[in-house]
């Protein structure tokens, strides 16, 4: 059907799916560095567990589907999914939870939909959403801040050799804020909370704010390298901060600032690594803006008014559903057809 000895005979050097994926992995490193430094080295172990699970699942599925193993295993896409899962799950979550999440992502969300390039939903977000619905308790056990565990103790925790003690009764800064507001029942306001509670740092969650700053840095690098387009992250950040900003201006006692929201939870990771996923995202310029913007708005709504501590995953999955529609209505005019004829 296709004659492969036809032009172009020149192809751009150094461009491949693997190169795209490797650059995404590299861009995650600043965030991971800050994570290790401020939260604890256990994340490295989680990354390893997720990577192994992803590669195994990928190999198995490729074999089952009769696809060339070497070509697809080395494309790096499974690793990107694995790393995103590890980075969105609690750092001391048991190993099997991460594994289940990863298997779900690779086997169901990716391969059952047709493999690389075919999945309508972001696999990492499927993993997160499925696990938080199925294992809400485990998925919200975050280490108490300042918890000083040795590497061995962390290992024991992850592999279930030590009891999952109150050391894990911590919460994410987003959670802490929400809970405190609920308990305070209007008697407590956000500025006081932020100033007094130990879990909050300079402008968001203590420690976490720098991890998210790391993601921001990596994301900007990806943009500069032209691996991602600016529209989706810009849309996401706008959507989130516009809504957050409006409510914050209206009632700063009850609503945290846009800055706090941008550097909390999965916002930065979402903006630069999740809504930018080309496969499950929009392909048109305007479409990407709309996708990002709506994802930001929905993420904020779920995180502030909904039942879950963060809303990025659900927002992204919801918009994945709308991609074909958005793409259809934002198809750009072609050369010579710009005057609407």
């Amino acid at each position: 059907m296709i004659d492969f000895s036809t032009p172009p005979y020149l192809l751009q050097a150094h461009t491949s799916v693997r190169r795209v994926m490797v650059q995404v992995l590299v861009a995650l490193l600043p965030g991971i560095g800050a994570y290790v430094w401020l939260i604890g080295p256990s994340i490295l172990l989680q990354l390893l567990v997720a990577s192994l699970a992803a590669l195994l699942a990928e190999a198995l599925m490729l074999r089952l589907r009769g696809r060339p193993l070497g070509l697809f295993l080395s494309d790096g896409s499974a690793l990107v999914t694995a790393w995103l899962i590890a980075l969105t799950f609690p750092p001391l979550a048991p190993w099997w939870l991460i594994t289940v999440g990863t298997l779900l992502a690779i086997v169901v969300a990716k391969h059952l939909y047709g493999g690389l390039g075919q999945n309508p939903f972001n696999p990492a977000m499927i993993a997160f959403a499925a696990c938080i619905v199925s294992f809400p308790a485990l998925m919200s056990q975050w280490p108490v801040l300042g918890l000083k565990l040795t590497l061995v103790e962390q290992l024991e925790m992850i592999f279930g050799l030590a009891p999952r003690i109150d050391a894990l009764s911590g919460a994410t800064p987003l959670d802490a804020l929400k809970t405190a507001l609920k308990i305070g029942e209007g008697n407590i306001d956000i500025p006081t909370l932020l100033a007094t509670q130990e879990v909050f740092g300079t402008f968001a969650g203590r420690g976490w704010e720098w991890v998210t700053a790391g993601y921001l840095l990596g994301g900007l690098w990806l943009w500069q390298r032209k691996v991602i387009h600016w529209q989706a992250p810009a849309g996401f950040i706008c959507g989130l901060s516009l809504l957050a900003g409006a409510l914050w201006l209206w009632n700063p006692e009850r609503f945290a600032s846009p800055l706090f929201h941008l550097f909390s939870g999965g916002a930065m990771l979402g903006a630069f690594f999740i809504v930018t996923d080309p496969v499950s995202g929009c392909t048109t310029t305007r479409g990407r803006l709309i996708f990002g913007f709506l994802a930001g708005v929905i993420a904020y709504t779920i995180r502030v008014f909904g039942g879950y501590p963060d809303g990025v995953a659900f927002a992204v999955l919801l918009l994945n559903l709308c991609v074909p529609l958005i793409d259809m209505y934002t198809r750009p005019p072609i050369f010579g057809m710009k005057d609407g004829k």
């Binding site: 000895s5 005979y9 020149l10 192809l11 390039g117 050369f335 057809m337």
Partner: protein, 582 residues
Amino acid sequence: MLQRLFSFRGGVKPETNKAPSVQVPIGLAPLPERLYVPLHQHIGGHPNPLVEAGQRVLKGELIGGAEGWVSAAVHAPTSGTVIAVEEHVAAHPSGLTTLTVVIEPDGREEWIERQVVDHRSLPPERVREFLRDAGVVGLGGAVFPSHAKLTAAKAVAMEDLVINGAECEPFMTCDDVLMRERADEIVRGIAIFRDLLGARRVLIGIEDNKPEAVAAMHEAVGRLGEDYQVVAVPTRYPAGGAKQLIRVLTGKEVPASKRSTELGVQCFNVATVYTAYRALAFGEPVLSRIVTLTGNVEQPRNWEVRLGTPMRDLVALGRPKPDTTRFLMGGPMMGFEIPDLAAPVVKATNCIIAGSPALFPPAPPEMPCIRCGACAEACPHELQPFDLYWFARARNFGKTQEYSLFDCIECGCCSYVCPSHIPLVQYFRFAKSEIWAREREKQAADAAKARFERRNSREEREQAEKAERLAKASVARTSGSRPAATDAGPPARPRGSSAEAGSGSRAESPTDAAAAPAVGDAEALRKATIVAAMERARAQRESAQPKNTDHLSAAQLREIAAIDARRAVLGSAGESPKGPDE
């Protein structure tokens, strides 16, 4: 005055690799032992051979006359003897054969009597015919007969004449050296085109990686006292595509559904202008062209090559290196692999590149599309190649048309940047040829249907006439009155037979009909029933058949019609390779 430049979206910047072949001036390729001159070297009508084996021809003698308006003549590139008029392998990716005049040169280069004309002294129509009969076609690679592009649109004033010296394909330098060495002739030739079109302004666009050519053209324009503007345009493939260059120089975007003259602009390649000038000022028809021979050869260079020279002879001049595995005709972005070096150099042969695995590494294995959008960003026509790819793969050809498949110029930018190394252009070519094939089938079916309907209506008419005759005959019999008898019975015979002669079938004399009226009626009824049943069945079939033009807007339908018309021209040309220049 500084010319304001516009920009087109997309495009890519591959290594240009132009330097090796511009180190030495144009060389004159030696006369080969035999010349194989195909009669059909352009888009449009196939010229018929005007010579036969054994006949002696002079240099410049007409060997194939233009067939129809969109066509061009072909001439003997040297003096000698016609050995044969036969099928010979063509310079085409398919490696198919084409009718070719084989000439054995006598080495004397005896010219025909050359007729020199001043285009200002002739009516424009005559100048156009002259160009057609001199075989002037677009030498950028598209080989569209130039005279057919030299009529301004009636309703629109011709504002700009764009002269294309951009030459954006990597490796290719034939226009570059031509502008360096023969700028005066090009500049003189522009006047012919400007006057025929009545263009107000002439813009000569040259990519800024050819400063020598820009300088040479600038000087020539100054020396000859013309007011043409020589503009250096940014180097970015495909800046030399006619539509892209028009966009860059004038800001106008010519959609696929329109002619550029409808927007008051027309574009010609510098080499075309040069040959037009030689044709008028020296009476020399197009007998040779400049060909870049480069790539994996010891001596890259531009050669002036007689049309019909076997590629093997030309390639030998460059001394290909031992690791050469293939030869490309045209540039590496839009050219094709030459299946057989016995194929001759033709008007479309702008460049021959010797290729080695090191020079053109094989494409890495194809991966699935990751929807990264790199192709859409690179597409100069602002299409969504991944969508087109998706529909083409699914053989959803209606959708490919809805997504403007026929606006694709097959420039290859999308394939060039795709991280999944998907041969996108090949999918688009596949889709286009599938659609063309289906169209052809549909046209054949429509013609058959029309024939069938014509026959049906004829039969119906005959039935009706017969019934009328019968009725009148019976009236005449029963009443026996004179007036009726004039219309029926024996006196009516001449009229009846003339109707039969007109419809040309089934001789049935009125007497026969009168003898067996009942039989005739039953027969007629039965026939009518059958016809009606067939009609119903056809209607049902039609409504059940999916039409790939179902959800198209009127504008798109118009576009498709325009494309079809263009394709008819292309198709008849055996899909000549289309270059981005011109």
